[in-house]
Structure formats: C-alpha cells, structure tokens
Symmetry: D2
Amino acid sequence: MKLTSEQKKEILDQQSQKNTTKRVTSPALEHILYEAIPVLDHGFVRVVDYMGDDTSIVQSARVSYGKGTKKVSTDAGLIKYLMRHRHSTPFEMCEIKYHVKLPIFIARQWIRHRTANVNEYSARYSILDKEFYIPSRENLAAQSQSNRQGRGSLINGTQADEILTLLREDAERNYKNYEKMLNETYDGETIDTQKQGLARELARMNLTLNSYTQWYWKTDLLNLLNFLSLRADSHAQYEIRAYANVMIDTLKKWVPTTYEAFMDYRVGGMELSSKGKIVISKMIKGETCDHEGSGLSKREWNELMTSFGFENKIV
Amino acid sequence: MKLTSEQKKEILDQQSQKNTTKRVTSPALEHILYEAIPVLDHGFVRVVDYMGDDTSIVQSARVSYGKGTKKVSTDAGLIKYLMRHRHSTPFEMCEIKYHVKLPIFIARQWIRHRTANVNEYSARYSILDKEFYIPSRENLAAQSQSNRQGRGSLINGTQADEILTLLREDAERNYKNYEKMLNETYDGETIDTQKQGLARELARMNLTLNSYTQWYWKTDLLNLLNFLSLRADSHAQYEIRAYANVMIDTLKKWVPTTYEAFMDYRVGGMELSSKGKIVISKMIKGETCDHEGSGLSKREWNELMTSFGFENKIV
Amino acid sequence: MKLTSEQKKEILDQQSQKNTTKRVTSPALEHILYEAIPVLDHGFVRVVDYMGDDTSIVQSARVSYGKGTKKVSTDAGLIKYLMRHRHSTPFEMCEIKYHVKLPIFIARQWIRHRTANVNEYSARYSILDKEFYIPSRENLAAQSQSNRQGRGSLINGTQADEILTLLREDAERNYKNYEKMLNETYDGETIDTQKQGLARELARMNLTLNSYTQWYWKTDLLNLLNFLSLRADSHAQYEIRAYANVMIDTLKKWVPTTYEAFMDYRVGGMELSSKGKIVISKMIKGETCDHEGSGLSKREWNELMTSFGFENKIV
Amino acid sequence: MKLTSEQKKEILDQQSQKNTTKRVTSPALEHILYEAIPVLDHGFVRVVDYMGDDTSIVQSARVSYGKGTKKVSTDAGLIKYLMRHRHSTPFEMCEIKYHVKLPIFIARQWIRHRTANVNEYSARYSILDKEFYIPSRENLAAQSQSNRQGRGSLINGTQADEILTLLREDAERNYKNYEKMLNETYDGETIDTQKQGLARELARMNLTLNSYTQWYWKTDLLNLLNFLSLRADSHAQYEIRAYANVMIDTLKKWVPTTYEAFMDYRVGGMELSSKGKIVISKMIKGETCDHEGSGLSKREWNELMTSFGFENKIV
C-alpha cells in the first residue's frame, strides 16, 4: 500500500484533532482512528468514525427490560446473554464507519450486504486509480476439485509465472487504453489536443475487475457482526477474508466485551439440526450410532463428524 | 414532565463526562446532549449520542465524486446541491440516537418508519410507568367534517370537561386494575400476599393507548429528514408533530447547513405534477387558464391554487 | 371468530375466482386461499396472495451457481443444502401476503419485524371494531418466578374470575366511552345531535391494548422463516405463538420442501458455542467433564444439559 | 441478443404453462411473461413472476382507511390520490420479479438500490458468458465539458473506429486469457491436460467491466417506481436508461392505472423549493422578478427557468 502525499497529509490532519465530547469514547479505537491499515497489495481499511461502545449495548438493553434487569450482575454477563439468545436489537445501537480501498471484484461481493450505507468513488465523475490487485504467489490456487466454489492446491513454477504475467499485462494494457480513450492520463495530462476524450462513464468499461476502487462504508454493530461471521469464515474467498480479519481487529479494540462473546458464540460456534442432535445424544450415551438410520445425508454426516474432530466419516 | 430523582442523577452523570476524541464534534449539540426536552404532558426527547456533522456529508460526497468535486466552492453549496438533486447517500453518513418518552398510540405511528433501530421498554419484563397523555384544552378538537383524518373546530365548555374527565378516569381505573391483576403496585408493593400476580405480558393488555412508553431510537440523517418532513407536516397528527418540532430544533444544532437546505427544499418546497406544470406555465404567460381543460381534478386544482395563495378555487 | 356478512361475501367472491396464469401455482395453498383461519377469540389469519413455490427457490439458486449446480441431484437436496449453509437469498424469491386480525398489544410485538410491508386499519380514519381479546381460563398464567418475561403456574378459582371480569368490564367501559367521545356508536348512529364528536385520532387513545386491529402483512419467505422461528418458539408469548403456529401450517401447504428443511435445521435445531462444543466432544469421548473448568456460566451449562436431555444440572 | 437453444427451450416450456389460480392476474403482463426483451447488444429483460395488480393497491388502502374510503368514487381516483400525497405503503403490496442480463459496470449502478432481492450468476462457481457490451456508434459520446458526469457531442470518424476496436480487442483478449488461466474454454474443453486451472474466483478478475452477467431481481412496486424514476431520468447513464425504459413498458402492462399516475406525478413532475415558489408566484402576478434578490443560486435560477421553458437565463 502506497499512500499519496495528499492522503498522508489528510490522515495526519485528522489524527491531530483533539476535541472534547460528552459522548462515550472507545480509547483503544481512538488510538488507531483514521490510520490506513494495509490489506492485499494496494488496499487499506481505515476506521473514520464510530458511535457508542460496549456500554451503549447494555444501556439500551436495560431500557428494554426496565427495572427487571437490575439483577443481572455484570455488563459482560448481559452482553453474553444477548449474544447467546440472539437478542439482536441492542447491538444495533452502535455504529462504525470505514474507509476502504479494495478491488472491484471484491467490492461486488461486499455490496451484497444491503443494510450498510455506502458512498463509492464514482468513475462517471473521476478517473480511477492506476492500481490493480495481483495475487501473491502463495495465494495462487487451482480450482478445487471437490468444492465448486473453493480453491485447491497451489499453482507454482512456470505456470504461476505465466498467470501473474497475464494478469499484470492485461490490467496495464487495459488501463493504458482507458487513458487513450479518455484522451487524458492518470496524471491529468491531455494526450492529443486535437481530439475529444470519450465520456468517463463509457471508458471505464475497459478496466479489469481487479482495478481498485474505494468507498466509505457505514454499518451498525449487529450488521457488522453478520458481515464478519460470513466473510471471515473459511468458506469465504481469501481476498475478502483479508479485509474481514483486519476489521475483526478493529472490533476487538472498539467493543472488547462484544468481541469475546462474538468469538465464542458465532465464530467458534456451530449449529446442529434436529437429526444431528439425536446423533450426538446417542454418541454421548455410548449407544451405537452410524450414518445408516441417522436420517442425515452422507454429506451432513461427514460435516458433523468433522465438526467434532471424529474420524468416522463415510465415503 | 417530571423526572424521577434517579433519572435526574443519570442525566447529570452523563452530562458531566468530558472525554477527548479525534472524531468531529458538533458543539451546539454537545451543549444540549442528554438533556430531557419536554414534549406533551409527560413526554420528553433526549439526544443521547450522535456521529458526524455537516462536514461528514461533504467528505463522503467528495469521495464519490473524486477529484471532480474540487471546483465546487463551498461546503454549503455542495450540501444544497445534494439536497436539491436528491443525491441522498451522503446524508446517510451521519447518525443520531434519541431517548424518547411518548404515548403508545403515537409510538404506533412512529414505528412505521422501518429504517430506524429501536429498543423499547418492555412491559413483558417490567411494570409500565403510571403516566397517561391527557390533551390540553386547546388541543381538544372535533372530527373534521371535510378531512377524514383531520381535526376540526375546538370542543369546549362542559363537553370538553366531560371528555377530559372520561379520559383521566378510564386511564386511572385501568391502571389501578392493572396493578390489581399484577398483585403489585407501581411502587413495587405486593397487594395481597395470598395471591399470585398475573403475568406481566398479559396484565398490560388492560392499559389504555395513552399510556406512556419509552425507547431508544437511532437513525441516520437521511431517514431522520424523511421522518421529520412527514411528521412535522401540517397533515400529521398534532401529538407526533410536537415531537417532530422539538427534533427539528436538535437538527438545527447538529447540522446547521443541512437544516437550512432541508427547510428550503423539503419543508417549504412543493411538488408539481406534469399537468400542474402546464397550468402554471400558462398563468405566467398570462394565458387564460381555468380548471376545465386542465386535466386536473377539482381537488388537485384547489390544492394547486392554495399552494400559490390564489383565490380562484372552484367548488 | 365471527365474520360480518360483508366479510363472508367478500371471501366467497374472492374464492370463486378462477383465473388462468402462466405463473407457478401452489395447489395446496390455493385450496385455502382467502379462508379466514380462526386465532384466539376474535382474530384470524388469511392468506390473500402469494408468489412462487419451492421450485422458485431452486430456480434462482441455479442462476447463481450457473452450470455448476447441474450435478446436485434433486430439488429437495438443494433446498436442504441452502438452509443448512444459510445461503439465504434464494429464499427471498418467494413472497406471501396475509390479512391478519389481532389484538393491539400483539401487533406491537409483530411490527418489530421491520422487513415486511404493512397496511394497518387506521383509527385516525375509521372507528375500530368493538372486539377485545379476553384470554381463555387455560391461558391465565401467573408471572413466572424464575423467568422475568415468562409465565408460571395457572391462576384459577375466584382470582381467575376476578381477572376475567376486570379485563372484560374495563375494555367494554372504555369502548363505550370511546363511542361517547366520538358522539357516534360502532353502528354509525349519532348519539347527541347537539354535540360534535371528538376527533377519531384523539378518541382512540381511550381504548385498551387488547382491542383488535387488522392489517395486510406481506413478506418474503426468508423473513417469514425468521419471524416464525422467533415467534413459534416456546419463549414467545402464547398469544403471538398462536398466530405463528397457524402460519406454519400455511407454510407447509405453500412450500412443503422448504417447510421440511426449516423444521429440521431451524425449529428443531440448536446452536453450540465454541466452549459448549468442547464439553460435548469430551462427553462423547467418555472423558470426565463437569461445569467447573468448562468456562460456561451456570446458566449456560444448564441450558446445554437440558438441550440434550441430561440430568446433570447444577444449582 | 442471441439466446442459446437451451434458453429458448426453457422460455417455451415456461410459456406453455396454463395453471388455474384464485389470485388476481394481469392479463397484459401474462401475455409477455417469460419473454426475453432485448436491451443493448446482448442484454435482455424478462418478467418471470409477479404478485398483485392495480386492485391490490386499492384493496390495501381501503383496509387502512376502513369504512372511511367508501366514498372515494373510483379506483383510479384513489391511486392518483395515493401517488400525489406520497402515501406509499399500498404500492408495496405488489411484487415483480425480473430476469436481467446486463454488463457488469451497469450491474454495479443497479445494485445500489438496496431494497430489492437479488440472485446473481456467480463467477466463483461457473464460467462467465463470452459476451461484452460494445456501444453502438450513435452512443459513443465525448465527456461533457459542462456536466462532470454527463456526455457531450458524438465522437465519430476514425477516432470512433479506434475506440470501438480497442474495446473489442481488449475484452476479447482478456476473455481469452481468462480461459487460458482457467485452463478451460467457454465450451468446457480442457486446454492443457498437463496443467491445473486457476480457481475461478481468481481468474475472473481478468475480465473487463463490460462483460455480461445476469441475475434474478425482485422488488415491490414502490421500490420499482423509485428505481424507474431515477434510472429512466435524462441524467441517468444511457445504458441503464435502456433497461429502465423497457421496464416502464412492463409496468404499463402490469398496473396501467399506477403507470398513468406515475407518469403524471413523478416522471413529468417537478419539485419547487420554497424560494423557487416565491419566484413563480411573482411571475404569475406579473411582478418584476429577476435572479438578483431571488435568493437562488445562478444554477438554481437557470434550472427553474429551463423547467418552465423560459429564456431568461443568466450566465
């Protein structure tokens, strides 16, 4: 990640602010506020604003339950209780805003989370940055044979070289032709004074999907947790997971108690179907129990055994 | 409005906070933060948290438009432009949270705004406050004869006395019987130690719709503006308008530039249909123009004339 | 439930329609379309429109996965897979619309599901029906001592009689006074020709929370499932569960395959926290495992044991 | 637009359905149901399902207003009234589902409408179609000099040829290299049996933004109208307007009365600010009125004059 001198100055200006407020603050998050945390080769995540902290969740839960909650001893206990029982509305009382730079094909996955507020850099108005995501060699995986949407073993050697060269050359050539059609370079120079430039809203169609875009993305804490539990999951594409993991670090700084509950109940937790529950009950009691008669499909049986680290899978 | 000593202490504690933050602050809003602003006879509105200010709108708009917006001279000019052209997403970048105490029949109107986050006091858990909305005499209006959902002339004299007495007596009696069924008074005393109390989730059904409830209500600025333009409108019921008007004052303190644009383009503005536009064009040119041939219904014609303060209505 | 002769006629008219369509239809749901299914003492649920069936879910999932899904053998297998892995968007492709009559205090719980579309009967415009929910004796439970939002043992004998009398008398008196303030009876007769009637939007505040209202409520299948899993749950208040249970029957008729998957993975399923998973793994392996050292709170431990039907709870 | 023989067969199968239903139907929409209406060079729009018609709007509005609406004479009158006064919830009672094929850079604009349900073809699972949007010569416009996001005069002659050649060659080369990295052609043939193919979720990043994708897109009528009023507007990019215009035709077939009201109040209508209203009032009364003293910015003044077709603009 390479910030322009303009961006560096903006960040320093923002970080030098020292305002007084009666609002609650999250000191650990204040510490990294506005900082550009690098992700992938040219991307970043910056926390640029937030509202509330762990105590805001507790405060609104206590409004709901009124005098009735007085007895629950601790804030941490209440937050765990809310998380465990999916009492979700108190988690909506906190809000956070990120500034993110990311490749377009990842932005297209990300935007499917509809509950957030977004302002994206518009290539109808302005020329897009001259930066493309090129995977590092340790992420250049082959298509999985078993999982239709996953990655298999690494590609390496000359085939890896070839692929990386193709990706780089195609992105660069297409960007160069984008400038040519615009009749204007990234640096703002007119190429041929005798010609007009193609409308930006048209020229952009020549760019590749690994071009970087950026946006402000604002969400409440509940929807952030939903985003993170899906996108930090091992089934998510590596490139979006890289963003989610960095954001989990910011979560930990912002609302440490919620973070603990989230890791225990969501990230590390699992769901059991009603048939799966019967299988597990039998296994605990030491009763014989195999796939046949469980009502589970072969796939479900294996997923269940894997979850508990047992070997008795079937094929 | 009468706050309990517990509530007063909580507000003082909150107001005595003095935290340092790198976030933008809104000094005029900080000034009234946490304060309970009275509405109706027992209700209030308190701003309890916020995120962003006018500059946050500008900042995210400039991300969207990139280098292209550099030329728009002022922040105020950009905010007016966004408001006029309904470029709405930058207004979603600010967030505010209110604590509101309000009668249940008003809460039922309010909750129809679905985009907000809400935590309401739960009468399944706790006993509801012993407070009911009783209109003041100057708001005791008869059903309008012309407008099916409006108010007509004032009711006064002995009929007004009768109505106020009915409202007060019914609310009080029903509350008293609520306590009796709960077998517990508002102050927490058991009434008859030989009896059980009815489940709270059942007993509450005996309360009247003018009982007061309270909630935390959090929304982004765009949806707040939508709420205010509908609920501060003269067609809205007086009781919800009373809340909206107080909230417009908080809007003015929070985001003064947005407030100006909102008053000019939304609150004081109007919409013209394509047929209405033709009528107005003709009137400007001094051409004869009457209801017949305008394509407008009688009702539309009159609404149009009223908007511009002209007398030529038809009946 | 007693339908007016007007309502009966409307239902018969609707049911006698026989239109031809190229859209998919759900024959079992068509069979009960428009029918008023009784709930509680005066309420009902009617399915009044729908869009799509089980095949619509499959169709849109196959668009997402493209040629890649050709190999998944059956529609039922695909729907189970989607439900298990919370691939939720294909379930949004079906839509259903209900007409519901329900007590206001239940409507207030229901409306918290924000993703639905709603048109409710407006007491600003019209006079509310003269019907109140009065619980049957077998639902007249005391406040639970252990669970702050639950019901405990039944209240019976004279105390039950007293409560039922209070509820009935207060609702009826308040309705009578509502008519008096309106200066108009439920049947539309003016009470005193010398007086004006109080505005409807004001008079309604005298009604009790067990008054019946009605609405059209439209939602997609995914949000219907979320609603049903929360509201048919044993922790939900009995009165809303009564509605949810009737709606589960309509779900079964509409999308039988989705219904099966829903019952297995959602209704009958459970969630395990990461700490709970470790406890269960140990129990399966026959290792000693008790509350101490599990990292679970006492409450969590007991909830876990109860889920699997084991006795080793702690106090 | 060229449909595969598989797609043609699917459409014929769907169109040959003849089911009986008690639901309301929209005969004119049934007539074109499932048909692929061509848009741009390879795109299409198909209506694949719908729920409700004009009478559904009326029906739910009458539930809201109860007996009070009996007097509004006609359905059309009621729909116009609802549209004029932005009583929006009854329009949410109808739902429609489209199958759309469109270029990715247009899909990225479209998806910003967050209230719809979407299932998009996934390039993580499957190989994307070998089709790219290439503008026709009459749409090859230069960047506007006056409007930062608009198009100016046409580009033609050899510069147009050059641009079209660049767009075509870059898209084709990048697709070819996409196949090479996948080690699999669009037709499913393995290229080099000695090599693995790069994971699909990675290879796709080499594609250009004018590649075609497709999705199922489902929305309620209110949100469809919002989408159409923004995207059929003259300020919208030509390529998305092409889709919006075709969809307005389907709107007309589906809900003809709503369509009329929409064209009158939304598409052909305009908004006046409070300051603009004063200007217009003066002009009607024949008072002198110029930019100075109007409180309008130069830009606003000119927009206002243009709206009414007057010449007195300022520069």
